[in-house]
Amino acid sequence: MKKIFSADVIAPIIIGIFALLIWEILVRLMNLPPYILPGPLLVFQTLIEEWHNLFPSLLITLQITLMALMTATFSGLLVAILFAQSKWIERSFFPYAVILQTTPIVAIAPLIILWFKNNIFAALVVCASIVAFFPIVSNTTLGLNSVEANLNNLFQLYKASPWQKLIYLRLPSALPYFLGGLRISGGLALIGAVVAEFVAGTGGSQSGIAYQILMSSYNLEIPRMFAALFLTTLSGVIIFVSLTILSDLLLKNWHESAIKKYN
């Protein structure tokens, strides 16, 4: 983290610039019209021109994403802790968590939006939470059950109560697993939010970034569509990077995954 200009940062940036350059050159050489494929310069120009429309929409989508991520984290942790109370609870309920994950959100989003008729925002948050929920539950459950056998013996020897075991042993053991799940869920929450917005369509007063993408494609404003797409992708990257930094900060003193980066 000390060196911002390390190879880890510079190498991808160089590749990115190179790719954009080739893209721009190809578009110009082949004389492609902007409604087929706009060049990156045009996209960037459009982004600046349309900023006042696109950015507020992005904020709405990000709001949904964050709410969903928080909901998923909170409920995911609770469910994982519940699962960890007994093998039987886990065995009985885990399959349903899997079903929740394998059901395509596009398929159930209309239903959820229908149920929340008056509150599109809440419906979108619920949809995105469902998508982000599973990695948290499965990873945290795995972590809570991955306590080192000897540490378990030690706690047993000192007659720790189940509660003490949870607080002082199982939750700390699960932290790296939970944070791994959180990083995946961050991206999934954004995808869930965008997909749900797509399903919700162009109706509704508050319109997120998916609405802008849809509208641009209807109107064949392809550069504008690319600009909106770029904002969405950039947000995803920022979410991932922030969660990675959070994870490294929390684990820097003891977990292998973070120690290497800091020393």
Binding site: E148, N150, L151, N153, L154, F155, Q156, L157, Y158, K159, A160, Q164, Y168, L169, P172, L175, N253, W254, H255, I259
Partner: protein, 271 residues
């Protein structure tokens, strides 16, 4: 320090009696068969035996980490509270907790008030010579120092009996003998009863006033040898004639345990 040998223990100063103790694991492995053993108060008893002969199982059963299959464990009067501490082969530290929090764990779990706990932690850390490392995370410590943390955590509860399962097995020779000496000093200071598992014969002789040889399979007591050497023992004791004689005797019993026909070593065997 009074040395208690098996023979001169009366009923009153026994810490622990094992009667026909057997342990069969769920998969049918007979790990221990009819173990009879008495441990006097203040004894330092080493258990030696080949790996897989059931030494760990014996300690874990005594600690209550494994269920007894048959037989019984009787605790002496003072030991009714079973104030025992267990030191594992690995340090078994919580990687997310600083040294002081690792050492203080048993106190926290048993609800000792923080102010009192802090004092006792500091004392334990001082006893094992880890002053200045209180705020350090386990990964920053060497193997020997981690073991000291583990030792401090065991003695912070002021136990009456200490069960140690090859605690120094993973350490290099120099660190091991240093920790041996410190352990012996602590044992004399604190008046513990110690059950110490090792497969290092000279370590067993150096530390103990009794060495119990376990044979296998299944695990059973093959020999019970009092070590009659005065305390404190210097480093020179390790290379003394007396020590060598004991080592040779134990080695012979170990051979016997593996190979039923008696075996007399002809040359000096270095364990």
């Amino acid at each position: 320090m009074k040395i208690n040998n098996n023979k001169n223990n009366t009923r009153d100063n026994l810490a622990l009696t094992l009667k026909n103790l057997s342990k069969v694991y769920a998969n049918g492995t007979v790990a221990l068969q009819n173990i009879n053993l008495t441990v006097g108060e203040g004894d330092f008893v080493s258990l030696v035996g080949a790996s897989g002969c059931g030494k760990s199982t014996l300690l874990r059963t005594i600690a209550g980490l494994e269920k007894i299959s048959s037989g019984e464990i009787k605790w002496g009067k003072k030991y009714l509270a079973q104030k025992l501490a267990f030191v594992f082969q690995e340090p078994v530290l919580m990687p997310w907790a600083k040294v002081v929090d690792n050492v203080g764990l048993p106190l926290k779990l048993s609800g000792v008030p923080q102010s009192q706990g802090r004092l006792r932690c500091a004392e334990a850390i001082h006893l094992v010579g880890l002053n200045g490392f209180e705020k350090v995370y386990p990964r920053q410590l060497s193997g020997g120092m981690k073991m000291r943390v583990s030792l401090a955590r065991a003695l912070v509860t002021q136990p009456s009996i200490m069960l140690m399962d090859e605690p120094f097995g993973a350490l290099d020779e120099i660190t091991r003998s240093k920790l041996n000496r410190d352990l012996l000093t602590l044992w004399q200071q604190q008046g513990w009863t110690v059950l110490f598992v090792t497969h290092n014969i000279s370590e067993a002789v150096y530390l103990s006033n009794r060495v119990v040889v376990i044979g296998a399979p299944p695990g059973r007591v093959v020999a019970d040898i009092p070590i009659e050497a005065p305390l404190p023992r210097s480093e020179y004791f390790r290379t003394s004639h007396l020590c060598n004689e004991y080592c040779r005797e134990i080695w012979a019993h170990l051979q016997e345990a593996i190979n039923p026909t008696p075996f007399e070593p002809k040359r000096t065997l270095k364990p």
